[in-house]
C-alpha cells in the first residue's frame, strides 16, 4: 500500500518593532540575561499591558502580504498554563479572533507546478523567555529578555505533501515577510521558528492519520531532513501494521534523528478567555486599505519589472530579487551607475562570493552601492582592469574604503601610457623568443601568453587591450 504524506506548518515570526508588544523595553537581542526587562514584561503585581501599535501594523501587513482576510475587530486572549518562561502564568495571544485568517501562499511543488497552500490564520502573541538548564542538571535559570517580544504565528492548513513543499513554503514565506518589512526571518537566530505536524494516510483516503509534532529544527534544511526522517519512520510503523503514536518529537541535529520529547499529544485545555486588561483591536476599512496600498512590491512583481525595465535576463532578475536587501542594493547601484547588466554581474559574481565567504547579509555589508558604482566606473574609464577591480572590491569589502582611494593608495592605476609599456614589451619579447616564433608561424594563440607575461611584469596594472595591440604591432608580420 502506498501512503500520502500530510504536512502542516506552524511558523512563529518575530516582528521587527522597536519595542516589545506590551511595554517599552527594546526588542533586540542582547547577550546578558534579563537586561531588556521592566515591571510590565516581568509580570510584576499591578502592572498592565499596553499595546504597541507598531506591532499591530506589522501583523496587519503580514496578514495582507499573505492574502488574509482581516478582522476589523479582534482582541487578545489569555492562554493559561504554568511554565517558568512565562512571567504571568499566562501568555497573551489571539485565540478566538486572529487578526488575519483564510490566506494563501503559492509555491511550486516537486515538479515545478504552482500549488496553493492555504493559510488558516495569522495571529499576534507575546514571546516567552528562555530557560537555561545547568549542565549538571541541578538548576534551571530563566532569561526574560525575550519575554514579551511581539510574534505572529502563521498556521497553514494541512496542504503540504512533501518535505520539499515544506522547505519551499518556508523559503517563500521568508521572502514575502522580508519584503513586507515585517521580520528578519532568520531561522538560525530564532526570529523565525517552525513546528511541523505530519501524518501519513493510505493514498486516496480522506481522513487524516494520527500525527506527530516535530520541534527544534533550526534551519529550512533541518525542517526538510526531519520530515524525510519522520516519513520513513511513520511509513515503517504503518507497514508493520502498527499505529503511529501521536506525540511530540524533537529533531536532533547532531544525530539527524528525532527523539520523543513529550508523550501522547493531548488537547491541552488552556482555558482561553479575553484579556480585559487590553482594549480590543479596532481597525477601520480605510486603515486596512491604506496598509494594503502601502504593501511593498513583492519579489515576483519586482523580478518582472527588472526584466522589463532593465532588460535583465530572467535568471539575473530571479537571483537579484531572492531577497529584498539584494534587490534594494541593485536598484541603489543604478542610481549612481546606469548599466544594469554590468551591476548585476558584479553583484551575483564577486560581491555574492565575498558575502558568502564572510557569512554576512547584504544589509550589513560595508561595500555599499556607492562603492560598487565607483568601482565599475573606474573599469569603464580604463583606470583599472577587471582583474585589479576584483582585488579592490575585496579590500573595500573589508575596510569600507572607497575604491578610488584604494587604487590611489596602492598605486593600482592601469598603465595606459604607451611609452611606459613599450619598454616592458621589448623585454618580454626578448625573453620569450619561442612564443614570438610560434606566433609568427601562425599560432596566434601565443599572443595570449605574451600578454600574460606583460601583465605579470606590471603586476596586473597594464591595460590588456593596449598591450595586445602593441604586441601585435611589434611582432606581427612586417
Amino acid at each position: 500500500m502506498d501512503y500520502e504524506v500530510v504536512i502542516g506548518l506552524e511558523v512563529h515570526v518575530e516582528l521587527k518593532t522597536e519595542s516589545k508588544l506590551f511595554c517599552s523595553c527594546p526588542n533586540c537581542f542582547v547577550p546578558e540575561p534579563n537586561v531588556n526587562t521592566c515591571p510590565v514584561c516581568l509580570g510584576f503585581p499591578g502592572t498592565l499591558p499596553r499595546l504597541n501599535r507598531e506591532a499591530v501594523k506589522l501583523a496587519l501587513t503580514a496578514s495582507l502580504a499573505l492574502n488574509c482576510r482581516i478582522a476589523l475587530r479582534s482582541w487578545f486572549d489569555r492562554k493559561n498554563y504554568f511554565y517558568p518562561d512565562i512571567p504571568k502564568g499566562y501568555q497573551i495571544s489571539q485565540f478566538y479572533e486572529p487578526i488575519g485568517s483564510r490566506g494563501s501562499l503559492t509555491i511550486e511543488d516537486d515538479l515545478g507546478r504552482p500549488k496553493v497552500i492555504r493559510i488558516g490564520r495569522v495571529h499576534m502573541e507575546e514571546d516567552a523567555g528562555k530557560l537555561i538548564h545547568s549542565p549538571t542538571g541541578d538548576a534551571s535559570l530563566v532569561d526574560y529578555n525575550r519575554a514579551g517580544v511581539p510574534l505572529v504565528e502563521i498556521v497553514t492548513e494541512p496542504d503540504l505533501r512533501t518535505p520539499g513543499d515544506a522547505r519551499r513554503y518556508l523559503e517563500k514565506l521568508k521572502i514575502i515577510l522580508q519584503y513586507a518589512g515585517v521580520s528578519d526571518c532568520k531561522m538560525e537566530e530564532g526570529s523565525l521558528r517552525c513546528d511541523a505536524n505530519i501524518s501519513l494516510r493510505p493514498s486516496g483516503s480522506e481522513t487524516l492519520g494520527s500525527k506527530t509534532e516535530l520541534k527544534n529544527m533550526n534551519s529550512f534544511k533541518a525542517v526538510e531532513k526531519s520530515l524525510e526522517h519522520e516519513i520513513k519512520r511513520q511509513r515503517a510503523i504503518l507497514k508493520s501494521g502498527k499505529e503511529v503514536i501521536s506525540q511530540t518529537l524533537r529533531w536532533e541535529e547532531e544525530s539527524q534523528k528525532t527523539i520523543v520529547m513529550r508523550g501522547k499529544l493531548q488537547a491541552h485545555d488552556y482555558r482561553c478567555f479575553a484579556d480585559c486588561d487590553l482594549a480590543p483591536i479596532e481597525l477601520t476599512a480605510e486603515e486596512v486599505e491604506e496598509a494594503r496600498a502601502a504593501l511593498p512590491e513583492m519579489a515576483e512583481a519586482r523580478a518582472e519589472r527588472f526584466v522589463h525595465d532593465y532588460k535583465l535576463p530572467d535568471y539575473d532578475a530571479l537571483m537579484l530579487t531572492s531577497s529584498r536587501g539584494l534587490a534594494d542594493y541593485f536598484e541603489s547601484c543604478l542610481e549612481f551607475y546606469n548599466n544594469p547588466k554590468n551591476v548585476s554581474n558584479w553583484i551575483m559574481g564577486e560581491l555574492s562570493a565575498r558575502l558568502n565567504s564572510a557569512g554576512i547579509e547584504i544589509e550589513s555589508c560595508s561595500f555599499g552601492p556607492e562603492h560598487m558604482a565607483e568601482l565599475l566606473r573606474m573599469i569603464d574609464e580604463n583606470l583599472i582592469s577587471g582583474k585589479i577591480a576584483k582585488d579592490v572590491l575585496e579590500k573595500a569589502f573589508y575596510s569600507g574604503k572607497m575604491p578610488r582611494r584604494i587604487v590611489e593608495e596602492d598605486g593600482l592605476l592601469q598603465i595606459s601610457d604607451q611609452s611606459e609599456l613599450e619598454g616592458i614589451i621589448e623585454k618580454v619579447i626578448k625573453e620569450n623568443p619561442d612564443s614570438v616564433g610560434n606566433y609568427r608561424r601562425g599560432k596566434t594563440k601565443a599572443i595570449g601568453f605574451l600578454v600574460g607575461q606583460v601583465m605579470k611584469e606590471t603586476r596586473g596594472k597594464a591595460n590588456p587591450k593596449l598591450v595586445n595591440e602593441l604586441l601585435v604591432k611589434k611582432i606581427g608580420f612586417k
Binding site: 510584576f44 503585581p45 499596553r50 499566562y90 478567555f273 486588561d277 487590553l278
Partner: protein, 482 residues
C-alpha cells in the same frame, strides 16, 4: 475627648496658607496611628520615615510658593497598591518582604498633590473579601465597636482619624461595604477614571481604585487629582471624553433620584427604613424622587462571581513560586507550583483559583462563563434604560451589619454580603456609599449609583444632603466584651 474632624481640603488650605505645617501634622498623626493601630490592627506597615520625608518636602514646596491641592493630607493606601520602596503584602503572608520597585499611578498622583502616605492598610486574603477577617495579618477592628470587623481597614483609618483620605480597591464592594460599616463615604468611580496601574487586581474586569473620606467634598478633590488619562492603563482613555468645564452647582429641581426597594422579601426592613428616610431627605432638598424596579438584579451576583473567579484563577497565576510568592523546596516543577501556591494563598484565594480554573475549563466555559458575560451585557442594558428614567439611583449597600470578629460566616454567606454592591461592579457603574443612619449603634450606609461618568454629579448630590449624614466619631469604642 473627641478631636474635631477637619476635612482634607480645609486642612490642605491651612497648610497652603501657612497656618499649619505638614511636618507638625504628620508627627502628631504618626503618634496617633501607632497608638490606634495597636488596638485596631489597621495597618500592615506604617511608613514613618517616608511620611516625615514627604511632609518636609511638602512644607518646602509650600514655602516655595507651590500650590498643592492636598498639601499635608494624611493618606492611607490599601496594601494591594504598589508604592516604590515600600512593602506590599497584597494580602499574602508570602509577600511580607516584597518591596515594590515602582509606584501605582494613583499613589504617584496623590503624593504629587501633597498627600502624606502614613501607611499601608490591612486587607483580606489576596484582597478577596470585604471584612478583613481572612487577612493573613488578622482582622482589622471597627472603631465604632471593636466587636465588629472594620470591613475595610482604610475606612476604619478614616473613621478613627488615623488619616483623612484612604486610597482603596473595590472589586465586588470592599470599599463601599467598608465605608458603610465605618460610617463614612466611599466612592467606586466609573471604571477608567482612575488608572489601575500598580493595583494588584485579582479581577481585571472589576477591580478599581476608589477613595474613602469623611465627606463627599474631599472625595471630589481627590478624584480631581486622580482622574485622567494614563497611558499605562488603556481603560483611562475614557477620561478624554470628560467635559473640560465642570458645572459648579447643581439644581436639585432638575435631578431625579430613582429609588429601588423592590427586591421583595430579601430586603431587610432596616434597609427599607433607611431608603425611605433618605428619600425623604432628598425630597426636602427639592430633588425629584421616582420609584424604580429592577428585573435582572437577582441574577447578577452569580454572574459577577463566575467572572471574578475566572479572572482570579488567571490573575493569580503569576504567584507560582518562580518569581513571586513563596519559593518552596521541591523535587520537580509541579511540586514547586503546588507547594509554593499553597504557602502563598489563604483559603479564599485557593478556593477562587480552583473555582475559576474549573469554570474556564472547556466543559463549563459555555454554560457558565459565557452565560455570565451575557447576563452582564443584559444587566448593563437594563441599567442604561433605568438611567433614562432617573439621573441617579438610591439603593442599599449592605445586607447586614459589619461581621463580628471571630464569627466568620461560611463562604457562600460571605459572597451574599456583596448582594447590593457586586452587581454595580458588574454593570461598570460609579457608586458612592454614603452614611445613612445607625442600627444597633452601628453605622449603615446606602448606595448612590449613576450612569458612567456621573461620578461628579453623585458627589454633588450627596453633598447636598450630607449635612447631618456624616456621623463618624473619631474615638474608638471598645466592644462590649473588652
Amino acid at each position: 475627648m473627641e478631636a474635631k474632624r477637619k476635612s482634607a481640603h480645609q486642612l490642605a488650605r491651612e497648610i497652603g496658607n501657612g497656618q499649619n505645617t505638614a511636618r507638625r501634622l504628620t508627627e502628631e498623626g504618626l503618634k496617633r496611628c501607632k497608638n490606634l493601630n495597636a488596638s485596631l490592627n489597621t495597618f500592615t506597615f506604617i511608613a514613618e520615615n517616608e511620611a516625615l520625608e514627604q511632609a518636609k518636602r511638602v512644607d518646602k514646596m509650600i514655602a516655595a510658593g507651590e500650590e498643592l491641592p492636598l498639601a499635608g493630607v494624611p493618606l492611607a493606601v490599601k496594601d494591594d497598591f504598589c508604592c516604590s520602596g515600600l512593602p506590599a503584602s497584597l494580602g499574602s503572608a508570602a509577600f511580607k518582604n516584597f518591596v515594590s520597585p515602582y509606584s501605582a499611578a494613583a499613589v504617584e498622583a496623590l503624593l504629587e498633590a501633597g498627600c502624606v502616605l502614613i501607611g499601608k492598610t490591612n486587607l483580606d486574603d489576596m484582597g478577596m473579601g470585604s471584612s478583613t477577617l481572612s487577612s493573613p495579618f488578622g482582622p482589622s477592628l471597627n472603631p465604632w465597636s471593636t466587636e465588629y470587623a472594620a470591613g475595610s481597614a482604610g475606612a476604619a483609618a478614616v473613621s478613627s482619624g488615623q488619616c483623612l483620605l484612604s486610597l482603596e480597591s473595590d472589586t465586588g464592594g470592599a470599599l463601599r461595604l467598608g465605608a458603610s460599616h465605618c460610617g463614612i463615604f466611599g466612592l467606586r468611580p466609573t471604571p477608567g477614571r482612575i488608572s489601575r496601574y500598580g493595583l494588584s487586581a485579582f479581577s481585571s474586569s472589576f477591580s478599581q481604585a476608589g477613595i474613602a473620606a469623611a465627606n463627599p467634598e474631599d472625595i471630589g478633590v481627590a478624584l480631581e487629582v486622580l482622574s485622567g488619562f494614563d497611558e499605562r492603563d488603556v481603560s483611562t482613555v475614557l477620561c478624554r471624553e470628560l467635559p473640560q468645564e465642570k458645572e459648579k452647582d447643581i439644581d436639585p429641581g432638575t435631578i431625579t433620584i430613582g429609588v429601588w426597594d423592590g427586591d421583595g422579601d430579601r430586603q431587610s426592613s432596616a434597609n427599607r427604613d433607611l431608603i425611605s428616610q433618605t428619600g425623604e431627605k432628598f425630597r426636602q432638598g427639592d430633588f425629584k424622587i421616582s420609584e424604580i424596579s429592577l428585573e435582572l438584579f437577582q441574577e447578577t451576583l452569580r454572574a459577577y462571581y463566575i467572572v471574578a473567579f475566572a479572572e482570579a484563577s488567571s490573575n493569580l497565576s503569576r504567584y507560582d513560586g518562580i518569581r513571586f510568592g513563596e519559593a518552596a523546596a521541591a523535587r520537580n516543577l509541579d511540586e514547586l507550583y503546588e507547594q509554593s501556591r499553597r504557602c502563598t494563598f489563604g483559603k479564599e484565594a485557593r478556593r477562587r483559583s480552583i473555582f475559576g480554573t474549573v469554570l474556564l475549563g472547556k466543559d463549563r466555559f459555555e454554560p457558565y462563563y459565557r452565560q455570565a458575560l451575557k447576563i452582564r451585557r443584559l444587566f448593563q442594558e437594563e441599567m442604561a434604560r433605568v438611567f433614562k428614567q432617573c439621573d441617579l439611583l438610591l439603593l442599599p449597600v449592605v445586607k447586614n451589619l459589619a461581621p463580628l470578629i471571630g464569627r466568620e460566616a461560611g463562604f457562600i454567606d460571605q459572597y451574599e454580603e456583596d448582594y447590593y454592591t457586586a452587581p454595580i461592579s458588574l454593570a461598570g457603574l460609579p457608586a458612592l456609599s454614603l452614611p445613612a443612619g445607625t442600627i444597633e449603634n452601628m453605622p449603615v450606609g446606602l448606595q448612590l449609583v449613576g450612569p458612567p461618568l456621573a461620578d461628579d454629579l453623585i458627589l454633588k448630590v450627596a453633598a447636598g444632603i450630607a449635612e447631618g449624614l456624616s456621623i463618624p466619631p473619631i474615638a474608638v469604642r471598645p466592644g462590649r466584651d473588652s
